[in-house]
Subunit: 209 residues, 2 copies
């Protein structure tokens, strides 16, 4: 296959060892090439402009700006840009956000490496790639599970181990109000106390450590 027909891939992952390895996998294929790579969302935006890759292979958990934010930012200027998400986690929030932002494939690092190659080829051909586990997580999302902005704010403070009183001071509201928000959060996450709320929020990717 001649050089010009190769699929140009930009690889974004905050772990250099993992990233270089993935680039090696891609470069071992005759029909694709990792033309650039980086560790942060900010660099990704810049490198996209420079290289105009056919596909951007994006990890979601990045320092500071997230991979989803990077996808949104790039698609603002390049609506036709193609993204394949490659991540470790199966938290439904990550998946939902990524698909919402316009990702065309969602590959989990626990899958065989041929799946990654397959996803890249399918997306390049205009298709999609969503493994069953991902589709199931998407389907399991009830509109009820959405949290309001304020509730997410409270949840993130919950996940830092703050007490109701601390959260109240932090937000400039009454402790009673905080309790009310917490109650709503417990209902939405379908759990019965704050500790369970933090655990399931971490599992679902609503907040991070």
């Amino acid at each position: 296959m001649e050089n010009g027909a190769k699929i140009k891939v930009l690889v974004v992952d905050d772990h250099p060892i993992v990233r270089v390895g993935i680039a090696a996998i891609i470069n071992a294929r005759p029909d694709m090439a990792a033309v650039a790579q980086c560790s942060t969302a900010e660099e990704a935006i810049e490198l996209f402009e420079q290289h105009q890759p056919d596909i951007t292979l994006m990890d979601l958990r990045l320092p500071k700006m997230s991979g989803v934010d990077a996808i949104r930012a790039i698609r603002l200027r390049h609506p036709k840009a193609c993204f394949v998400v490659l991540t470790t986690y199966e938290g439904d929030e990550d998946i939902y956000q990524a698909i919402e932002a316009g990702a065309r494939a969602y590959v989990i690092k626990g899958m065989p490496h041929e799946a990654l190659i397959d996803a890249l080829r399918r997306v390049h051909a205009g298709g999609r790639f969503l493994p069953p586990a991902v589709s199931r997580a998407l389907a399991a999302r009830t509109p009820d599970s959405d949290l309001s902005a304020r509730e997410r704010e409270v949840l993130s403070l919950l996940a830092r181990g703050e007490t109701n009183k601390e959260i109240a001071q932090h937000l400039g509201i009454t402790e009673a109000t905080v309790k009310c928000h917490v109650s709503v959060i417990l209902m939405r996450l379908q759990v019965s106390d704050r500790t369970q709320a933090v655990v399931t929020a971490l599992q679902r990717g609503l907040v991070h450590l």
Copy 2:
């Protein structure tokens, strides 16, 4: 360099995409070769017997049996076996356990990939490889932070979001006793409530999701 002098490496990581990529990095070097690879601790023990690698490159978070358990099991029969730990996390418990089990190097996936190569060569030459962050985490460990077996048991139930009453039933003891254990755990982790305890336990790798 002739083939016989190559460093034989066994690669163990539960994420195939990451693992194949790392093997590719190793195989790109003239003085080393990934002679085998697998996703679980059980397979690792078997493959070690088959290939007798010079170095086993081991991830710590594996399904069922952990990487640390695999290191211990292999070293029981092969005390001279060399291990390089390659993991995502910097939780001090993981680090401590791995070094205790006999790992000669601790490489974090966030480091440049030359660091991995460097670690493999140094360990093969009889040396060690412990990055500053790892040494610091080891030094920060106070004997006070050790939990008893019972306390770890309670902590793991805490991290599943169980209430004191549920934990009591689960362990066949009184709720008052559970509260006592929880109090000790809070003191050892230097936090003030169960939610903070779960968060810091997750951060430090004392328990996993």
